[in-house]
Symmetry: C2
Subunit: 336 residues, 2 copies
């Protein structure tokens, strides 16, 4: 690799070489009247839709480790995280912008594998690349902006929860955190066949579920679980000016086989505070609860508590009730 | 400042404390149906408009220096840079997303001053904050996404230049680069009264000019000068599949007073390769050239050359003609 070729236009060319168009995102691409290669991208909003805007950091050392996370997982996950915020509003992703900073030494194989993972996610989420910014940096820095759309008035906010509404989660909580712990424990790059590690490396935002909950009007409030149930539930409650009573026995925790030998870990604590699950947390007025299936396209939907007028968040365990403190991911607090 | 208060929600609260609404951006705010504090922002596109999307890195050590650039300049410039890409399409900014990573030690005075500069820019450019992401990091990392709008079919791309079109620039070139050199030379923080340093610290994107050139249909191609004339002109020519002949004697260089004592510097070289001016570079079909004023709202408009069928970019000086090589800012090339 010649040094003179290592310029920004060349990195851009490499990004462009990947086909961002496929059967998966051809529809979304119709919204893009101008893609990469100009000062800005041009996006054609659909009539009767609101535009959803969200961005997410994905930084080496903070959100992933260069020696533990395979580059195609970094590519997949940086987009999946941001797309999950669109799922949490009940919208559909339309396109994304990629801001990428990396060392010159990684513009070969690492960048190629990163782009393979990113492209897979782009096709899967029907969310083509529209533009971005690249620069050189000693650490890998990624910021992804996702643009989505929702039918006017259908986007589900965090602020719609009312006392008496039932609280639900999708999937099982704590799986991604357990996957991370397994990943860190192993030497070198860990097996991607382990379902917990897979959930940590290649999370699947609940797009279909979020869209269904929004379009049917079943969810009164919704957020995605990125920082952990304790942190994200408290944010939903704060936005809605309510509290909640969680039934600990009902929280769907990770199913750990003895062979996994994760000793000294309490699955409930990990379900309460573990991050990166990208499941949906949502509330449903009790009169509508009977309309919710037990599973939506194979994904478990579990009632785990109820919204209260009292603004505290309480966890009811079999023998005691205690107030929840946010123990999830917060970069400005010293780690637990 | 108590450690337990240094969490992400607190940084967010501080950002929210700044009034992002004022006489300057009340109109733009109407487009935002949901601002900060949810999973995503909701933006209401105007009928008959295309959405413009752009994002820009602004990284400590790469784009600014913590000990040289005052925090309010960092706040102003991170938004101005991204807004300039909207100006280059002839659009109007509507809102922005802020991704901010910083050390806990800077969440006091530094963050306050940063937000003052950012808010000033937000009001000036009529571009309110819609959302973002914050995290902790040893170095200051900023990424700004700006959402703008243009009337359908009016956005000016890089690709519309044709042989025979005249090439124009706004303002004077190289001023910001000279400002940076003055800033680096001085001990401590330099005087913001010096007009060259001001242009480097507080650039003013040419929003009104860009919008006028787009709405009148005068500009056939346009880009902003962020990386330097040599780099940005070559990108415009590549996108349009044309070349250009620059008349070096016509390039409006910085007016340097002897008192500034910048020795050994060639104003023409700095005008050709210096970055960060955020002036507009645009092409105009020759039959429309007589409609361009010499100045637009006090900003000089100068014809500096002509687009050619031959794809090289040539610089014609008084005694010689040579081919231009991009010498502007490119983070993946070793610095000149």
């Amino acid at each position: 690799m010649k040094l003179r070729r290592l310029n920004e236009d060349w990195v851009l060319k490499k990004i462009l070489e990947h086909a961002w168009i496929g059967p998966g995102n051809r529809t979304a691409l119709k919204s893009l009247s101008l893609g990469i290669g100009d000062d800005s991208a041009l996006f054609r909003p659909q009539a009767g839709r609101q535009t959803i805007l969200t961005c997410d950091w994905f930084l080496e050392g903070t959100h992933f480790l260069r020696d533990k996370h395979p580059p195609n997982s970094v590519g997949w996950k940086c987009l999946a995280r941001a797309v999950s915020d669109v799922a949490a509003m009940g919208g559909k992703p339309r396109c994304f912008l990629l801001s990428l900073a990396l060392p010159t030494s990684l513009t070969g194989h690492w960048l190629d594998a990163f782009l393979v993972g990113l492209r897979r996610a782009s096709l899967k989420f029907q969310c083509p690349l529209a533009g971005g910014d690249t620069t050189r940096r000693d650490k890998i820095l990624i910021n992804v902006t996702v643009v989505g759309e929702a039918i006017k008035g259908h986007a589900v906010r965090r602020s719609g929860a009312r006392a008496g509404h039932l609280l639900y989660v999708s999937g099982r909580l704590g799986e991604a955190e357990l996957g991370l712990r397994l990943l860190k424990r192993r030497k070198g790059r860990a097996s991607r066949k382990n379902p917990l590690i897979r959930k940590h490396l290649y999370p699947e935002p609940r797009l279909a579920l979020g869209h269904w909950l929004a379009s049917t009007g079943l969810a009164s409030a919704m957020t995605d679980l990125s920082d952990g149930l304790s942190s994200d539930l408290m944010r939903l409650c704060a936005a809605s000016r309510v509290g909640a009573r969680l039934d600990a026995t009902k929280i769907p925790t990770a199913q750990i086989s003895p062979a996994m030998s994760i000793r000294g870990l309490d699955p409930l604590q990990i379900a309460l505070h573990g991050g990166d699950d990208y499941e949906l947390l949502f509330t449903v007025p009790s009169r509508k609860a009977s309309l919710l299936p037990r599973k939506f396209r194979g994904v478990l939907l579990t009632p785990i508590g109820r919204i209260t007028r009292d603004k505290r968040v309480l966890v009811v365990e079999s023998d005691r009730t205690h107030q929840l403190a946010p123990g999830g991911w917060d970069p400005f607090r010293l780690r637990r």
